[in-house]
């Protein structure tokens, strides 16, 4: 599960109000490089919940990866930024698409219901009495 997917997932357990964002507890994660596509990031960024993304990176022990506040778009998409090591767009790309959580859990912020991540796959299934 990448952090992009974490950013899109909520808990539907009975008793949850928003069920979002899910608290990430990662026991094991890996990174896999993929090609950066600035247009894709540009299209996606307005849909990303920045705070949830930042919280996820901090949960992985990466406090330096993303700043508390989203950098201005003109900085993120500045000419040539994608080619600069450590630029905002590269950090965002890395956070969203290159980190794969393999083992851990997602915890509902309202009910503390824990959804396991096993072999990289989050299990959001609810029991009948939880729906």
């Amino acid at each position: 599960m990448r952090l992009l997917t974490h950013n899109m997932l909520a808990s539907n357990v009975r008793g949850a109000t928003t069920g979002y964002p899910l608290k990430l507890e990662a026991a094991k994660w890996v990174t896999k490089e993929v090609e950066l596509n600035a247009d894709f990031i540009r299209g996606l960024l307005p849909k990303i919940d920045w705070r949830a993304l930042v919280a996820a990176t901090r949960a992985l022990g990466l406090p330096e990866l993303l700043p508390e506040e989203q950098p201005p778009e003109e900085e993120i998409f500045a000419e040539g930024a994608a080619g600069v090591e450590g630029s905002a767009i590269r950090r965002i790309h890395h956070a969203l698409l290159e980190i794969h959580v393999q083992e851990g859990s997602l915890v509902c912020p309202d009910t503390s219901r824990c959804f396991p991540i096993d072999k990289g796959i989050p299990n959001m299934m609810l029991h009948e009495d939880e729906v």
Binding site: L9, N12, N37, F40
Partner: protein, 239 residues
């Protein structure tokens, strides 16, 4: 076949002729020749006793995607999603088909069956493509944040007419048990898909004549997805 140019979302129902038929028995290796450049390779598709293997309906769905490949490339989908990914054959094929886009397209796949999710992951890995796989009921947990965001949804749903009590069975039964007219699960899928489909989005779904595909299209058009195409496969149950 597809108009590809309209702004409205469209739905393509891949209709399998021969009403009342069971979902096909696995036929490994069948009908895979000539597809392998653009699709998952059958020998690399992972399997598990509790997971539906690629069958004629899977091939029909991938054929529908293949025949729309040019339009899909033009669409440049941002997010593609398979609901009920089973072996992973379909979502893997879609990812391979669109690989040349280099547009950053991302893939998501869900299945209610944990073994299917793991099998899909193995199939994706064997082909060197990636989708995030989630164990969930249809799109539960994703519907709010993904609202209006998914450009291509592909579904080979449990469409076989069965007694109602077979719905909700675990394991492989969840891949085919469709309840009354094979529509019980489909009727839950449609409003969920409506939520996540983007304005320019396309839905590809397999259906039997028993499922009343025209009614499915009608329902989707009532939900605001106004264009659809039928793709008939009269040859499906020959061979």
């Amino acid at each position: 076949m597809a108009d590809g140019g309209g702004a409205a979302a469209s739905e393509k129902v891949t209709e399998l002729s021969g009403s009342g038929v069971e979902k096909g028995l696995p036929r490994r290796g069948k009908a895979s020749s000539g597809r392998t450049l653009n699709t998952a390779q059958i020998p690399l598709v992972a399997s598990h006793p509790e997971v539906y293997e690629p069958c004629d309906d899977s091939f029909a769905l991938v054929d529908a995607l293949l025949s729309d490949k040019a339009q899909l490339l033009t669409l440049k989908p941002r997010l593609c999603m398979e609901v009920g990914c089973g072996s992973g054959y379909v979502i893997t094929s879609l990812a391979i088909m669109l690989r040349q886009l280099a547009s950053g397209t991302q893939y998501l796949a869900t299945d209610i069956n944990k073994h299917a999710a793991e099998t899909t992951q193995a199939t994706l890995e064997a082909h060197g493509v990636h989708a995030d796989v989630i164990v969930t009921d249809i799109v539960s947990g994703l519907e709010k944040r993904l609202a209006g965001m998914v450009d291509v949804v592909v579904i080979n749903p449990p469409y076989v007419p069965t007694p109602e009590e077979e719905i909700g069975c675990k394991g492989i039964a969840s891949s085919w048990a469709g309840g009354l007219n094979g529509r019980q699960v489909i009727n839950r899928i449609l409003p969920a898909v409506r939520e996540i489909l983007s304005e320019r989005g396309w839905l590809y779904m397999v259906a039997l004549e028993d499922n009343d595909p025209l009614d499915i299209c009608h329902l989707m058009s009532e939900m605001g997805h106004s264009e659809y195409n039928n793709l008939f496969r009269p040859d499906w149950f020959k061979a």
